[in-house]
Point group: C2
Chain length 187, copies 2
Amino acid sequence: MSITREKIIELGEDLIRTKGYNAFSYQDISSELGIKNAAIHYYFPSKENLGTSIVKTNIQRFEEMTDNMYSRGFDEWHQLETFIKIYTKSHREQKRCIVGSLGPDIPSLSNNTVAELKRMSQIILDWLTATLASGKEKGIFAFKEDPQIKALLILSSLIASLQLARLIDKIEYKSFCNAILEDLRSE
Amino acid sequence: MSITREKIIELGEDLIRTKGYNAFSYQDISSELGIKNAAIHYYFPSKENLGTSIVKTNIQRFEEMTDNMYSRGFDEWHQLETFIKIYTKSHREQKRCIVGSLGPDIPSLSNNTVAELKRMSQIILDWLTATLASGKEKGIFAFKEDPQIKALLILSSLIASLQLARLIDKIEYKSFCNAILEDLRSE
DNA sequence: TTGCAAACTTACTTAGTAGTAAGTATATTT
DNA sequence: AAATATACTTACTACTAAGTAAGTTTGCAA
């Protein structure tokens, strides 16, 4: 794969996660990379191709992470902790997550991009639901709600907290994430 | 106040909550209201004026609601229930809330609009924190976290759930909101 | 009745957007 | 050496956005 292509995807993801899909333009990417507008169209004929590729890249990355945790034999607590670290890292970098960034722009996204975005959300939610359920069975987690509802609650909190962080100054993000984990502690 | 002005604000709010700030244009409003583009500029010289006015209107509406609940003597459980109803209504109407809609577009908003949006988030969070704290004192709510952290968790969940609803089909929104309330039940 | 202000419309500018067609340099294959 | 594919650039088109200046209608007040 071309290095320019990879740089475009990387920068595009950054721009989506900071400015948003509708607020960034091919110009933002081309001027940053020192290439011309049309060069991006060479790799991604339309903006929707770029958007879809970015989501696909993120799905792949997520699946690699969960596969990796599985093959290393992480227990459920450790898995959840690792998952939450994605968000604390995003928070440090003042970025949102892809789902939280593209979600608001669904009405202006192409069908293909929306389909991939839905697929991504479902994959994350399914993984989280399964992890919570098996962790509960093993006695690692304790919660009364249905695992899917609990997964939705946790995922919602994480996604929105990255957005609220820009609005409410005195958020202690570590405490926030800790509260999510501690809420699940069985004992 | 002019009726056209009010209609512009109302429609503008709708557009922000469905399409997003950057995705709607004065054209969307003017064609819907059967007026010309420039007519909107007559009331709101620039888009930032409209955005700020919409946020201010929402702050006012929120404060009227909480004042109303206070003067009617709602207990904390009833207050939280009423607050959550704002989100179930939004979900029914397939809209997001103002904070969740404008938050992602902060980088392209004017300083004034961002200031009002921050003020709005803070007002909501402060109210929620105070309600949770006094409800806990009275034994109406039970939770172990710090009230502000808990408020942030609940608010995040509500905001993001409206966004996730567009991505994950089989959400049972009622169960979701119920889980938030039941989690607080003391006894 | 004239004057004036409110509430617009007409007609425009400016700037930025995605996207395209055609050309060019460079490296690779045949 | 010739042909071809890769990775672009140049130079555009078509469109949409926000915003503006100047004119028009309408109702009310002096």
